[in-house]
Amino acid sequence: MKILVCITHVPDTTSKINFKDNNTRFDTTGVQFIIGPYDDYALARAIEIKEASGATVTVLNVGPADTEPTIRKALAIGADDAIRVNAEPTDSFFVASQIAEHAKAGGFDLILMGRESIDYNSGVVHSIVGEMLGIPSVSPVMKLDLDGTKAKLAREIEGGKEYLEVNLPFVAGCQEPIAEWKIPNMRGIMSARTKPLKVVEPKTAESGVKTQKFELPPPKGAVKMIPADNVPELVNLLKNEARVL
């Protein structure tokens, strides 16, 4: 069993988002970067499968050299080796093209990633990879159990769940509660230093998508407090001031 886990290197979920250079670039000042929380679920499930029934887990990240600490963390959590495609992950199509290239070459049985990255939130990379490889893709997957060459999955849909069956290989975009996030231990951290991390140059991929600039939402006005003994006043304000009732 060969599993590919694709991870993003994204701002910690508590980060304040700011832009610089005339709102054309993300401002990394004071920002901590992490493995995308959804990707972290995908990685945790891959490690569980490896521990339960044996598998090799390769992580892949499309990113410049400063993502390497994030990749090493994935190795510390238990992945066996890593590939870094040396390029800015500018858009979904570009990233998916890189993943598809390595997925094809590596002959993976299972390609896991998060349902979406928490920076661009597009939620489409798994589906584009599936289309490029001509294999199924399922997202967001909340449960994944392997049964020989088949898998049984649960996928979240609006207001509920769908239970699915699919043959390997396929692509899954993961979310909780597929597995519990794993924290690297000391041994993992030590061994991660020497695990193979291969750096490769990207293939060209023209997406016809270009980000021109960023914008922050307008600041929120001050909160209006209503005394606890005057609840009807809240209803009045919602009706006549906010006009949302």
């Binding site: 661009y120 939130n121 489409v124 490029m132 009732l245």
Partner: protein
Amino acid sequence: MPILVFVESAEGKIKKTSLEAVAYAHAMGGPVTAIALGAAEKSELENLGKYGAQKVLHASDEKLNQGIIQAYAEVLVKALQDENADVLVLANSSLGTPVAARVAARTGASLATNVVSLPETASGFVVKKSIYTGKAFSFVELSNKKKVIALKKNAAELKEVGGAAQVTPYTVQLPDALFAVKILSSEKATGEVLLPEANIVVSGGRGMKGPEHWGMLEGLAKTLHAATGCSKPVSDMGWRPHHEHVGQTGVKVAPQLYIAVGISGAIQHLAGVNSSKCIVVINKDAEAPFFKAADYGIVGDAFEIIPKLTEAIKAAK
């Protein structure tokens, strides 16, 4: 050049977000051809004319009654060709978004999801997208002739602009290979207001103390015709189903009104609610960070405030 719009229905009705997709395509300058897949009510499809669809294709093959993504993508790719359309518009959803991705990859289209407003076309074709989980926006140029645009809720205003649309049956060859993913069964809340579509959301956090207290929130939700939501720990502890979990790692909502009860307002929770028009926070701790993100707040015990609020709403009706 016609614009193709993929519409979805839930419990026999076309989803509001799909109506918005039709309205969006109409506002782009149409002409608009809508397409529905699987079982759908004819009157509902004709009704799409009101929002600007000139023509509605109905691919009613029963194999399409289940939302199989590869099969849906196949039908839409074919329909784009047959209608000679360069642009596909649809609503972001658990079905729409992956279908959009596959259609774009197959046709070489420029793709944008989470689009929040109409394109600017003064120089190029530029759409505004929600990014960083609602904490920012980006302006993205889509330069290929073919484009696939997936909309976030409220991206277009619903205005009645026409009468009944003409509904035409549409057939596509569907080889078995498209059905590699088998849907064995599904569980779906019925009769309730769905959280991602709701105009009002009543959401509870750990401050509600336990699942046995949710009746109170459901009562309030029912009075307001609202959906119920919750914070992550609440779904992690199994007090509420996972599909009600709102936030960074859960559902992102964009209602007119979000009422948060006993939720502290962690930044990861706020990430799922920051597109709400109006936020009400009820929390016994005056220092709860959620008040900073709220429009209206009450400091008090949820167990006292909620019954009073439900009564006051009934009285004001």
